[in-house]
Amino acid sequence: MSHEYVPEIATDREGNEHVVQGWQGDFYGGKLGFWMFMLTEVLMFGAMFLVLAYYNTLHPQDFIDASASLNRWLGGTNTVILLVSALTMGLGLLKMRVGDVKGAKLMIWATILLAAVFLIIKGFEWTAEYNHGIFLMHDKLLVGTENSLPFGQKLFFGMYFTMTGLHGFHIIIGIGLMLWLLKRINAGKVSQDHHILYWNIALYWDIVHLIWVFVFPYFYMIGAGGVTGGH
């Protein structure tokens, strides 16, 4: 790809010239493509929310009880962490667009750091739940034992681990993408004029955040009213 792309010109019958959009260097096309990819994420999580809502309708009280037993303060902290990381990501992109490569890299590192903290907190949370006997294939989530939770709660936690797990998986991928982005920046492949990759990874990070915006209240907050919450 060493040689520069020269846009083609098409000429109509009056002799007017029209610039042809090639696939190379098509910033808007790249963005459009990535948005479409994100729509598939919306449908994927949309379908999982559908499953969640399905059982929520069948077992409303169980869902509230189960939600009430989650640790809202850890969840809330993670929400704030993701909020701030979305900011650092955005600021980094902004810096890149005005040519401040160093600042941009710093911001990416900050985002990675925040993402790691998010995962660590998540880890604490899951461990605590494990110790309370709530984990996949474990104690209270097994069926037919003395400790078994009622169906509604079991389904709630099943989806909780699936969805937060998948969300966590997205965070891990995001960290990988950011490390790769740093490498591309160092190699000079991503720059002020050519930052579609950066742009798209920033979008990716935002959608990871966006998913959390719904995951968080659905799991942590629906049981917050009236009943005493927390551990």
Binding site: L50, L83, T145, P150, V213, F214
Partner: protein
């Protein structure tokens, strides 16, 4: 989107403003169950989430002014919405034979 004509200061300020908005909404999330709409907690929480999502989409994800993409996002969202209306609103809401079915009225284990 033009890369060359951006006002760094203005955009940065924009980012911070949105952040503050989001943080505020997060705080509201926490106080809502004790403050207002306590009867329809679920609805309140989802409304706040939608508000937050809207801010992220428009400002962080730069959707403002992107006609084509906004149209696509609406399209995808309305499809998801239809799934919800049909499956939850129509099918589950009219669940046949709930009383005799195990999955809806199982004996609690404890």
């Amino acid at each position: 989107m033009d890369t060359n004509t951006i006002d760094y200061k203005k955009e940065r300020a924009g980012y911070y403003k949105v952040l503050i908005g989001l943080l505020l909404l997060t705080a509201v999330t926490f106080i809502q169950p004790h403050l207002f709409m306590t009867e329809s907690n679920f609805l309140a929480q989802m409304l706040i989430a939608v508000l937050k999502a809207w801010m992220i989409l428009m400002y962080y994800m730069h959707l403002k002014g992107e006609k084509l993409i906004i149209w696509m996002v609406w399209f995808a969202l309305s499809i998801v919405l239809v799934f919800f209306i049909i499956v939850i609103g129509i099918d589950v809401a009219n669940f046949n034979n709930a009383a005799g079915s195990y999955i809806t009225s199982a004996p609690n284990a404890n």
